[in-house]
Symmetry: C2
Subunit: 373 residues, 2 copies
């Protein structure tokens, strides 16, 4: 999507120097737009661990490119498989709970192993394999988001027709935008495609306390691409729905059950309740890799990450042109910070996947993905 | 309630110098606890306008004591009624939409007028009248909150019995605490009384974006009084309810219809939806002065205040021991900031008033207040 009028993705190999991977350093957004050079697997480890980049699809791509850098930096012509395995373990440990990271790094490891037999591989060959696999992963993620957009945009087109081309107001929570992916995003993909088709859209962006990903990332990326948007406190969406100012809710998902339960950023459930109470369609947009096919009893018992209370206590912002932290809740007051909540399938109008839109139930989901039965 | 182990109310006449009114300057809470001397009607005007104090009952008391100071500072023995009227107009303009402010100031004006005939009144006499009326208002507000507490505590006692004296977890939104009143508060009064009776209670305090009254005021006052509490992001309450960690929701109200619709801080409606979805009782605690008896069609069409977007953009906190503002949303990104939302009566289990608890409907409310039919 566009930043300052130019097309960007979130991660790429520097075309002028293929030994350097470049990323958008998301820590300083929306205050500064900074491209960071990642010149070694160690630097990639730090970038993933310290969240210079975040979002499941993007972390996977970063892990794969981390393997590419690890092979490039190997000194010698023959790379031992032990080196490949140790680098894979190292990179996976940068964010141990990120499923996409292990998946992408293990795919690299497997394909490298398959280039020959014995305990070593030609460096030239495995660098090329690692590069190809990383670019394949990037391409798959980009394509999945594009397809989610192509399916989801039909919902917006239909609403636009019904409202006689008046502006369609879409509410979203957190950042399920292109900054979390390679391009397009998941929840935002239908919105970007609608905007490009000339459909009038406006996005209500939930601030998304405590980490403010909506206010910091979603609003920034929409604005840079020219999509009209407005940041609201997380508390405000219910009132906007009561007043008829929301036509559609689209959120992303961190994990979904094959029954259509949606695990997403805490607060999603409250918006789903309000959408139902006001007869507003509520969709989750997600690539099928997000679906946990083993959750046979739904996702309601998913253990939810309890995160550091400092995310709630400390607020980062600009003061006199400098990024500054302030403590907004004194240390003596207890805080509790759950990362996610679970929106039961009964509140979800539908799920937008790369293969199409399905009702949020087992029958619909397995009809789209019959190979998973 | 207690601050640093001593009993405080929010406003009082200095016992050592009755020409000085003292208040808790709420702007610096929870970072600093500061008593402010208010020595003139001008200083009271500024204190109300700039929100050194806030909360409907407290603003009313402050307006009445502002009239007392205005009469005290009059130079001469005979006070013209024009002076009284002009000071009343002046004080009421400090927060023109605060219903309690006009009500209290007009009550002062009326009682002063009634002390005699003609265009002047004895200064000594009207100062005494203004003092008496202000103390009456303070006493009435204190008593109303205490009664709300005495009725509401029965709900908590009943839950405690059913849970075999396990801790009762109560969720509240915004600050409907003693800092908004004289003492006890409205939503907090049942909680303080339960705590004093030795019932184990714990309060989930919604941060309450964008002004953070929960994190800044409610958590502070509960903690100072020794009531266990935990601050959560506004997004978190739904998940806690899903997990069975909330036994009861009590909120205050800025305005209620005689049908039981509740206008309260934006975000209240979302918690009421989640409470209903999880079969958790949801109560509004309010003095009957909050009920708008003329809202014959319910409160759903109440115009809701659109507030300054800077409340969302700018965050105040501590940095290196100094209260510091940081800009958390860049100026170029639009924001929208509604102050309230409306919780329809169908989501409200009951209303706790100074006369007792009633279902949130016309029949129940008029049964408690038959003189209003």
């Amino acid at each position: 999507m566009k930043v300052k009028g130019c097309h960007f993705e979130t991660i790429w190999i520097n075309p002028d120097n293929p030994a350097i991977v470049q990323i958008i350093d998301q820590r300083s957004l929306p205050f500064n737009f900074r491209i960071e050079d990642i010149c070694s697997s160690e630097e990639m480890y730090v970038a993933i661990r310290d969240m210079h980049l975040r979002g499941a699809p993007l972390i996977g791509a970063a892990g794969a490119l981390g393997m590419y850098l690890a092979l490039l930096e190997f000194k010698g012509n023959k790379v031992p498989l032990e080196y490949v395995a140790s680098k894979a373990t190292y990179l996976k440990s940068s964010r141990p709970t990120a499923v996409n990271l292990s998946w992408a790094v293990e795919r690299e490891e497997r394909e490298i192993k398959e280039t020959g037999s014995g305990g070593e591989r030609s460096k030239q060959e495995v660098v090329e394999v690692a590069r190809r696999v990383a670019l394949e992963i990037i391409d798959e993620e980009r394509t999945n988001c594009l397809k989610i957009g192509q399916h989801g945009v039909k919902l917006i087109e239909e609403l636009s027709r019904r409202k006689h081309n008046e502006t369609i107001n879409i509410l979203t929570h957190c950042n399920a935008g292109w900054l979390a992916c390679i391009d397009y995003g998941t929840a935002t993909a239908p919105i970007y495609l609608a905007h490009e088709k000339g459909i009038r859209v406006h996005v209500w962006v939930d601030e998304t306390r405590p980490r403010n990903q909506g206010a910091r990332l979603t609003a920034w990326e929409l604005q840079q691409h020219g999509v009209p948007c407005t940041v609201i406190a997380d508390n405000t969406g219910g009132y906007l729905m009561q007043q008829g100012h929301v036509d559609l809710v689209i959120v992303g998902s961190d994990r979904a059950s094959a029954h259509g339960d949606i695990v997403n950023k805490v607060g999603t459930y409250l918006k789903a309740l309000a959408a139902q109470d006001n007869n507003i369609p509520f969709y989750a947009a997600l690539p099928s890799s997000t679906i946990d096919w083993l959750l046979s009893e739904g996702a309601m018992d998913t253990p939810v990450e309890l995160r550091d209370g400092d995310e709630l206590r400390i607020m980062e912002g600009m003061n006199n042109g400098r990024i500054t932290d302030v403590e907004i809740i004194p240390a003596g007051i207890p805080v509790l910070n759950y990362g996610f909540d679970i929106t039961p399938a009964r509140l979800v109008t539908g799920i937008i996947t790369e293969r199409g839109i399905t009702p949020a139930n087992k029958k619909g989901i397995f009809t789209l993905f019959p190979e998973k039965t």
